[in-house]
Symmetry: C2
Subunit: 418 residues, 2 copies
């Protein structure tokens, strides 16, 4: 059946093994089509229940006594992420601080471990905060900051990276590119970096929860990632940090805090870091974020990351098919890899008026996409929360809106979406 026939999407939904889990997401406005799961995942019933329990029972009733459990969360939730979503081993992941802070800690540790290096390397399509953190560290340590040109659709270029890696301390890349959705070859590029003596630092923010990740098998050294997109941890939930077990004794992060201290509540003189990933913790973790992540991971584990990946590829493929059929004549081009194996779970559509279109979709069509300047409309259908007919209907509304010229009559606002 042709993808432009809505019954095609209906048939996909009828055959979706994850359909029963759609009810886990809280949908306040059923007619609102949410395709921004790559920016902020939906509230789910189990996260909501857990938050209420944390508010009323743990904080309200338990008061400070609840720290006996809370103190375990950074490691426990890290282990859950490692097992179910990251392909990492127990004791390799902790949760705490923002992605930006964790990038700083990880890149600093890599730089300190390569005292003879003269550069740090990333790509020009990496997420802004990754680029800024590396630029700042390079400036402070007197290193070259090398920003290698990536293909805007297919992502990092191994040849250009190879040419930039001589003398590098660390190569920092995103596993899934935040604009195009291009999936970088973690194992291959890690091997390339290692060939040049550099460590790798992977930003998993746009990948985690959308596809299987194999940190162990890929040989990655360090990784960070955020938890408020596909993991559904809630707005501003803390990020995670991964350090390969074999490197934990060598790599030392620069922010020496009391949560990294051995026998923390002895509050003794002199910093003696824990011998494991707890040395990467800094201060008091944000409890509401941690419990949200724990429930978010549990839901994704129930769904199964392989099934989520399969559905995510099918959802984005439906977007591509409909874009080719309906949107190409309206001036849109698919700005993501066409092979679903080569991309994450979002699709970028390039159009000169993308900013106006994004605003019009929200204001006048009941569709929430995402806009990335200057000309990219991003559509991120979270597999755990999105039906195929949601995608079909959203693309249908999109083509009608553009065909009608509605987007030309909408006053653009300053769109600020993280």
């Amino acid at each position: 059946m042709d993808a432009t026939d809505r019954r095609h999407a209906e048939a996909l939904d009828a055959a979706d093994p994850l359909a029963p889990l759609l009810a886990e997401s809280i949908v306040v406005e059923p007619d609102l089509l949410y395709l921004d799961g790559n920016s902020l995942g939906r509230l789910t019933h189990r996260v909501r229940r857990r938050l209420l329990q944390t508010i009323d029972e743990e904080w309200g009733r338990g008061l400070v006594r609840s720290w006996e459990d809370w103190i375990e969360l950074p490691v426990r939730v890290g282990d859950a992420l490692a097992e179910h979503l990251l392909g990492a081993r127990p004791g390799e992941v902790v949760v705490g601080d923002a992605t930006t802070v964790n990038l700083y800690k990880a890149a600093s540790a890599a730089i300190a471990a390569r005292p003879d290096a003269n550069a740090v390397v990333t790509d020009d399509d990496n997420f802004p905060t990754d680029r800024y953190v590396l630029e700042g560290l390079a400036a402070r340590h007197g290193l070259d900051y090398r920003e290698v040109a990536s293909d805007p659709i297919s992502g990092p270029d191994p040849d250009r990276l190879a040419a930039a890696l001589d003398g590098a301390a660390v190569l920092c890349l995103s596993h899934v590119a935040y604009r195009s959705g291009a999936l970088a070859d973690m194992a291959g590029l890690t091997g390339l970096a290692h060939d040049h003596g550099a460590l790798t630092l992977w930003d998993l923010s746009h990948a985690v929860g959308a596809m299987p990740i194999d940190l162990t098998g890929s040989g990655a050294d360090l990784a960070v990632g955020c938890t408020y997109k596909y993991v559904n941890g809630g707005p501003g939930a803390p990020a995670f940090t991964y350090v390969r077990h074999e490197l934990q004794a060598e790599l030392r992060q620069p922010i020496w805090g009391w949560f990294g201290q051995q026998d923390q509540f002895a509050m003794g003189a002199g910093y003696r870091p824990e011998p494991d990933m707890r040395a990467w913790l800094t201060g008091s973790p944000t409890i509401f974020g941690l419990v949200g992540i724990e429930e978010g991971v549990a839901l994704l584990a129930e769904a199964g990351i392989e099934r989520l990946r399969t559905k995510g590829m099918a959802l984005t493929s439906l977007i591509v098919e409909l874009a080719d059929a309906w949107l190409a004549p309206l001036g849109f081009t698919v700005a993501s890899p066409r092979d679903p194996q080569q991309r994450g779970s979002h699709i970028a559509l390039a159009h000169p008026d993308a900013g106006f279109v994004a605003q019009a979709l929200i204001d006048a069509a009941g569709v929430i996409p995402d806009f990335r300047g200057p000309d990219r409309l991003r559509l991120g259908p979270a597999p755990i929360a999105t039906r195929y007919v949601d995608v079909w209907d959203a693309l249908d509304r999109l083509r009608r809106l553009v065909a009608d010229g509605t987007h030309r009559r909408i006053a653009p606002r300053d769109r600020r979406v993280t």
Copy 2:
């Protein structure tokens, strides 16, 4: 009337101008006496309402659109803290990251601003994470780490500090000592540091919300502080950072993140920091923490920080009076300044068995104190949430428990309270 007569406490409650606001705190177990407001402030009705609104309306219904408001929170909540609790000007405070991370950013900026300095200075009774952060920065930058002996009861010693300040980049002290509650002279010690060419970095964690703070008038350069104690922001709510307006152009923090970038959502090439306090932001702020703080500050503002201070001094004075009358014969000594003007809002009581006593109070007497090894029982009656009879009853239970020897029959656990 004698303080040992419960009617004395009852009379104080009857005359308490803040008594009507006691109903704002959620008390699940009325017979449980909570004297650990200096560790984790109570849940309040207004914070709970706001959290539910943020969960259901902002996250659940608003989804990513809510970032239009959320994005303003770090500055808006910072300004509220500045106005109502910190004696700072608009645009001098932002909220985000943990206290530990903010200490790192602030101390790093101070070190970078004093390139000819050869040391950092703190005191040996400063909170552990302050000491560890400074020790780590000193090690990384090749500076002396100078930890000056403080008096365990009265706090920092100006003469000893003066002797250590030669060549120092920064003096980092707590305004209220976490163990003894000693209140440091912010203006005097800032002047002393300035005389030696050093910047000051004040940790306000145990002071904010308990007493008026005058960052502007004291001449303080930098300050940080936590929000989950007297401010009632919730477990792990993010910390704040203050940078004096006149220094904002000069002091640059080391973690270059996208929340500090001009025109953040242009996501452009090259880090161009905001010209103001937003340059001190890093990554996505934790929304549940920020809304909790906003409501917490609003409640304290309604109470009035001067009235909170007056009540805090009276509450801690009642502890001292009852400790002298009842506990001194049982081997306790008051390990906090006796002049209420010289201390914050908690009292430390020294006793060789303090750890057993703290555990026994929780397990067998319905009193929640705090223990700081090796021998300190801390009692922190938050003025917004504590009645004088709560203090009286808690001390009464404490003396009976110790007199009975109950604490000797309780198995101690590893108490972990932040």
